[in-house]
């Protein structure tokens, strides 16, 4: 027995619905529907004109069929006909059909718009509302074009009924969201704002949504709404629970309106007017106070409505982030909710606290709840709540509690829900890296992560641990040891094998001294996992094996045996097979020297923290590319990126040459050398720089045959090319230079187009040079991230360099006499049609020419005294820029090139170093003393040198390092 509807009973419809419900199977349902569709179609096509009622009934049936999930391809015309009916219910069904089944048929849209226009001008409020609802439901651009001008007039007209005003306000909002360009408020602005003062609460409720949206886009024009909103809010908050009649919801006065007012205020900074601000703070305090009052009703609706306002008020307090009192009160309130028996409130408290944690005023207050939150993570039964607890732990984490939080998250991971594991893993990895004080903790954490939740450790995470281990030499030994131990477990995750293979392949030698982890033991351990791994991991392991051959010649025969066996050399996977064959050949043919070069330790990874990506995202604006897309862009070469090049070039454009020439791309090297000579050399040929006779030759000279050939390459270039001005060095090039004072290898520069890596070596017996001189061989690697045109002058390369390729340049540098300015490296290339010109300081500083000198305490102080003239000493006291770690300091001082002398200084905390700078002209002895003061976090650095300029320069350089 079907239920008969209230209002206009459509008996046929009820019977049809009831039939459908009685269908026993999907097939039966479809059959019944098809029968009905055929029936309706024949009625619509029939000769007899249908009366309004039948038309309404059939349209309604079609709608029902559509809502069941079936396609409807007719009946639109009949629905449009209903729009012009005089009967309200017929019109209503017509509008409903149109709203649900929007059709982009332009002919229909015109008819629909016509009908809407008629209804809007009918002065019949119920018809007007129907039309407005339809516009809001469809919200298409065509409708915005037709009605965006009309609706504001209806909204502010004095004689419009309240219910129509409400519909008009929200209808306008919908149109504004779809086509903001078509909705012009202009003259209406102030009248719309004053709707906030309307007598009718419903009108205010509807209008405020519109005002909020508009004031986000034009905050200044709508600024007056702030004081109106505050006074309206204040009236509501202070009203008794019965004042607002039907707008009181379960004893809470106007909860929706209150929340919307608080939302509107979040579009603006705190009010500047003292009185308004005072009133608002009063409101917020009242809301916070009310939370402490006993509930007026036991109904959940009462507490929900009350707390909805409270959370919105807290959101506003967080938004202002300027009232420490309110922030702390808010935090305490949320703290109460954390232990509330209502799951919903616990969930929301955790969520709101996440935002509070980022405020400097309340961060500490949030941290006091750490135990409760950890407890929630462990005991909450609802995964949604646990997820929020994990989010909050992540947000409240800082250096002081990182270890505890990471440990808790790790232990939670063992039992965590599958749905949130991957996210948890990422969070742990980020926190571990962000707050790692010592990197052994970081390595432990990540390895634990892989052990506990290996399946959820994405590639990025294990890539990252390897990047960090490679870049930080203080942790390499520890990492090798730990990963070796982790691999002992009978069953370990494949990701662990990957990390293990990579790290042992690079740094296995650091633990090879221990007989328990001798080379052969290491190899056997890795190889015992080999057969259980997937192809990519096996390929990685093969690379690790060949590295072993280099690290430990004694393992050579064993490994060659492994490579030679059929399962490798005839492996069905072409990648594995090729590696096995190549590695086997390489290990048997190449001399140890070649092997050592080929299989050298990986150079440090570029520090590409988030900043690069973030910058890129900002540049590309909305619709930013994800990391993955970026990668793709690179591999595909310039095409995609090329199109947007002009914007991206901004960073490089700063140094762009003013006279672009068609083929003038070159990689040039220029000495920045003596400042006085700069104006002369600025416009001079690059050849000048390379020839020994050049004015700049006093600093950096050229002495290798390689260079002669390179200058000939230069001279063959068209003159116009060479005469171009190299760009001034990048503003940050000094900073970049400082990174290399105590370091020989690394990435000098990187942008979206290219990456410049430097590896410097110091050779004494090079060519015809007297062996007292130290020469630097700079290997410059230019890894191209995008396809660019490059014409390299030092050593000609293909004019077109593909994305991902690497160009190597070798520069020999001899120090003729002491200098203070680093030589410039000027790179010009063409990318996407634009000439790029990049000047960088080569990381060649005077200390690179140090020869370490070992000496006894007695000798040291004797020489120290000899250099006692005031100009021979340079001293500087400065604040520590980095943590004062003895090992790090030692490593830096060794990297400087001097000898670090033990047992010289009576105070063991101090460091003393000695070295001789070898220049062609003379040898300059230098003594160094560094006195750290751990309490004050200060250093005193003293340098004495036989040449005053050297002491000064070294002092300058070094004061930036610690």
């Amino acid at each position: 027995m079907p239920a008969v509807s209230k209002g206009d009973g459509m008996r046929g419809l009820a019977v049809f619905i009831s039939d459908i419900r009685n269908c026993k199977s999907k097939e039966a349902e479809i059959k019944r529907i098809n029968k009905e569709l055929a029936n309706i179609r024949s009625k619509f096509k029939g000769d007899k004109a249908l009366d309004g009622y039948s038309k309404k009934k059939y349209v309604c049936k079609l709608l029902f069929i559509f809502l069941l999930g079936h396609d409807i391809d007719f009946g639109h015309m009949e629905a449009v006909n209903l729009l012009s009916s005089n009967k309200y219910t017929e019109k209503q069904i017509g509008y409903l059909f149109i709203s649900v089944l929007v059709n982009s048929n332009s002919e229909l849209i015109r008819l629909i718009n016509n009908a809407i226009k008629n209804d809007l001008s009918s002065r019949n409020p119920t018809f007007m509302c129907l039309a407005l609802h339809c516009i809001a439901n469809v919200g298409s651009r065509e409708m915005a074009e037709a009605f965006a001008g009309e609706i504001p007039r209806i909204l502010v007209a004095g004689d419009t009924m309240d219910s129509v005003k409400q519909s008009a306000a929200l209808c306008l909002l919908r149109l504004y969201k779809t086509s903001p360009d078509l909705v012009l408020m202009g003259e209406w602005t102030s009248r719309v704002v004053h709707l906030l003062n309307d007598q009718h609460m419903g009108v205010v409720t509807a209008a405020i949504s519109l005002i909020t949206c508009l004031s986000q886009k034009n905050p200044d024009e709508f600024k007056t709404c702030v004081s109106l909103a505050v006074s309206r809010l204040s009236r509501i908050v202070s009203s008794a629970s019965t004042d607002l009649q039907d707008y009181t919801y379960y004893f809470v006065p106007a909860p929706w309106l209150s929340c919307k007012l608080l939302r509107l205020l979040q579009c603006y900074p705190p009010p500047e007017d003292g009185a308004v601000k005072g009133r608002l703070v009063e409101c917020l305090e009242t809301i916070l106070n009310k939370a402490q009052e006993p509930p007026k009703s036991k109904k959940v609706q009462h507490s929900n409505a009350k707390n909805a306002i409270l959370f919105e008020a807290i959101a506003l307090i967080i938004h202002y982030d300027s009232e420490p009192n309110l922030l702390v009160r808010a935090c305490n309130q949320l703290g109460q909710f954390l232990q509330h028996r209502e799951t919903n409130l616990r969930y929301l408290a955790l969520e709101s606290m996440c935002t509070l944690a980022s405020s400097e005023f309340s961060h500490e207050a949030v941290k006091t709840h750490i135990e409760t939150v950890i407890n929630a993570l462990k005991t909450e039964r609802d995964v949604s709540v646990r997820q929020r607890a994990a989010d909050l732990l992540y947000a409240m984490c800082d250096r002081s509690n990182a270890k505890q939080i990471v440990a808790e998250m790790l232990s939670y991971l063992e039992t965590a829900d599958y749905s949130i594991r991957e996210e948890m893993v990422l969070k742990v990895a980020i926190l571990a890296e962000k707050y790692a004080v010592d990197y052994s903790w970081y390595v432990d954490t990540i390895l634990n992560l892989i052990r506990i939740a290996g399946d959820y450790v994405s590639e990025e995470v294990w890539y990252r641990v390897i990047q960090i281990v490679i870049n930080r030499d203080d942790v390499q030994g520890y990492a090798a040891k730990t990963v070796f131990e982790a691999l002992q477990a009978p069953a370990c995750h494949e990701n662990m094998v990957k990390v293990g293979g990579y790290i042992l392949g690079e740094f296995g030698n650091l633990i090879a001294g221990d007989p328990r982890s001798s080379p052969l033991v290491q190899f056997n351990l890795l190889h015992s996992k080999f057969h259980l791994c997937s192809v990519p991991t096996r390929a990685l392991l093969l690379s690790a094996y060949i590295k072993f051959i280099n690290l430990f010649p004694e393992t050579k025969s064993t490994i060659q045996e492994v490579l030679r066996c059929d399962s490798q050399i005839r492996n069905s996977d072409v990648e594995l097979q090729q590696r096995a064959v190549e590695y086997l050949k390489l290990s048997s043919i190449a001399s140890t020297d070649v092997l050592a070069t080929v299989l050298e330790e990986m150079p440090p990874f570029p520090e590409r923290e988030s900043s690069i990506l973030a910058k890129l995202k900002k540049k590309k604006g909305p619709g930013a590319v994800s990391a993955g897309e970026l990668e793709e862009g690179k591999r595909e070469g310039g095409e995609v990126n090329g199109a947007e090049r002009p914007g991206d070039n901004a960073a490089i454009a700063a140094s762009n040459a003013s006279t672009p020439s068609p083929s003038a791309d070159l990689l040039g090297l220029r000495s920045a050398a003596p400042v006085s000579a700069a104006p002369v050399s600025a416009g001079s040929l690059l050849v000048d720089v390379f020839s020994e006779a050049g004015p700049a030759a006093s600093t950096a000279g050229v002495n290798d045959d390689g260079f002669l050939s390179c200058s000939s390459a230069l001279s063959s270039a068209p003159p116009s090319v060479v005469s171009e001005d190299p760009a001034p060095p990048l503003p940050e090039s000094d900073e970049l230079l400082n990174k290399f004072v105590c370091k020989n290898n690394g990435v000098l520069f990187e942008n979206q187009l290219l990456q410049i890596g430097i590896k410097s070596e110091y050779r004494q017996n090079l060519g015809k040079l007297p062996n007292t001189l130290r020469n630097i061989v700079l290997l410059i690697f230019i890894a191209l991230l995008n396809e660019i045109l490059l014409n390299v002058q030092l050593k000609p390369v293909d004019p077109l360099v593909e994305g991902g390729a690497q160009v190597q340049q070798v520069i020999n540098i001899e120090c003729l006499s002491d200098f203070s300015d680093a030589p410039l490296l000027n790179i010009k290339f063409r990318y996407g049609g634009a000439l790029q010109n990049l000047s960088l300081k080569l990381p060649v500083t005077i200390n690179k020419f140090f020869q370490p000198t070992e000496m006894s305490s007695h000798d040291f102080f004797q020489r120290w005294k000899q250099l006692s003239q005031p100009q021979q000493e340079a001293q500087k006291i400065f604040k520590a820029n980095h943590p004062m770690d003895t090992e790090v300091l030692k490593a830096k001082l060794l990297g400087l090139g001097t000898a670090l002398l033990d047992n010289v200084d009576p105070n063991p905390e101090n460091f003393v170093c000695a070295g001789v700078i070898q220049t062609k002209a003379q040898q300059i002895g230098c003594l160094l003393r560094l006195e750290p003061n751990a309490q004050a976090q200060m250093y005193r650095l003293t340098l004495r040198s036989s040449k005053d300029t050297v002491a000064k320069r070294l002092c300058e350089l070094l004061s930036e390092q610690f």
């Binding site: 309200y88 779809t178 609460m201 959101a315 990025e460």
Partner: protein, 206 residues
Amino acid sequence: MINHRGLHSPRRGLTFEVLRAVPIVYLPRLFFFCACSLALPLLQIRFLLLFSRQGRVRLQKWFTALSEHEKKKVVREMSLAVLTRPPKACNFLQWKDLKVVYRRYASLYFCCGLEQRDNELLTLEIIHRYVELLDQYFGNVCELDIIFNFEKAYFILDEFIIGGEIQETSKMCVAKSMEEADANQEVGHTHTHTQHIQGLSRGETW
């Protein structure tokens, strides 16, 4: 010096080489956390769905433009996510980039999709107010009322919410509009109920 990259032919995009090519890393996922403070402060509901315990959709209202295909996907996936929730769990869940607020009334689930920063508790009460409005119109509403008079359920919703924003919170005002609409009806009617939703108006959730 040759590193691994130099050693391998470029087509091998494997292992060691890959490391260098991958920029860091976790950031896209983190937007979720910072999105909280960036979202527009508007109380907008993206959609409202009513479905039965068996996942049959009884009413669907979309306040943002989606293709039919996308709508079906959302309905399928989200109703599954909601129906598999354990009893007594909280009324909110994170579903993709949306916040979902749901509540069960007898055999029907009422379910709203919200922007990230919307007010969940208030949305819960929007659902409740809608149930009260249905109840007021039908008189002790049940699922069958909504099935057989689906058009009325849509009309009531239109009086209450437009474009995802609440238009009128007063029960009396909505009732007045609906009465006006029914005023020019000619047909008398009987009203029978089967399977009433027990205590719907009293807001007992289960």
